[in-house]
Symmetry: C2
Subunit: 126 residues, 2 copies
DNA sequence: GTCGTTGCAAAGACTTTGCACTCAA
DNA sequence: TTGAGTGCAAAGTCTTTGCAACGAC
């Protein structure tokens, strides 16, 4: 199915051997140091492939567009993976836990953004 | 300082009177129904202004680019607001709490993405 | 030889910005 | 009057995609 190309090996190697959380451009530049013949398009394609294979993880959903929320108070979001519905959610315990994690890591001025994805009751019926 | 323009009132009104979590285009289209003279640029500028004033909330960080993580196991991220450093974090209790919130809302196949922002120990010293 | 992969460049999607004009104060 | 705000279109950024050439199997 998948072919073991030079590019794929290089990219997989780079991402597996960093504790950074690099973006595509960073990976591309690293890859260029190892082989002059590689393109950004290939890096994007290969990274997506590795994500689909479950070998790596991608974060920050780039297909998402900015959304605005009339509720300025801190709260989190439940998002339906099927219909895209978004439900506001506030949970003190969750916030406390987040605070603690911040403290353990000696971080200050903690804020957080939590996205809970799932399938909503309506979409489960379909 | 800020001037009360027709456009600003319309946009603020639209966003305050929806329980949706609209994006800029949606707001723009709604606004066009009320006045033909409005541009997408103004909508973007005004929404950002409302965010800065603390009147509304913006989510999905669109200045963020996709990042890839060599750790494919579920975990969350602590991010320094100053230097951008990202620390992986796994917390069972947090995950349990998230599961519960999913259940309460009758959502299935729960996954989550948590971003904890703060100032890291190194940056606190500067 | 086949067909999955690649490089390249163009296209896409969303958002920001420069500029001259407009209009709130 | 005057400068903050606007419309418009162009530019910007990140990412995806079409296509001919390439190369793993």
């Amino acid at each position: 199915m998948y072919r073991e190309t030079k590019q794929r090996k290089i990219i997989e190697d780079i991402i597996k051997n960093t504790r950074e959380h690099p973006d595509a451009l960073w990976v591309f530049q690293k890859a260029q140091e190892k082989t002059s013949k590689i393109s950004l398009g290939t890096v994007y394609r290969t990274l997506e492939l590795l994500v689909r294979e479950g070998k790596i993880n991608k974060f920050y959903d780039t297909s998402a567009v900015a959304r605005f929320d009339s509720n300025p108070n801190p709260h989190h979001h439940l998002i339906c993976k099927i219909c895209g519905k978004i439900i506001d959610w506030h949970d003190e315990n969750l916030d406390k836990r987040i605070e603690e994690i911040g403290k353990v890591n000696k971080f200050k001025d903690i804020t957080s953004e939590i996205f809970i994805y799932g399938i909503c009751p309506e979409c489960q019926r379909k």
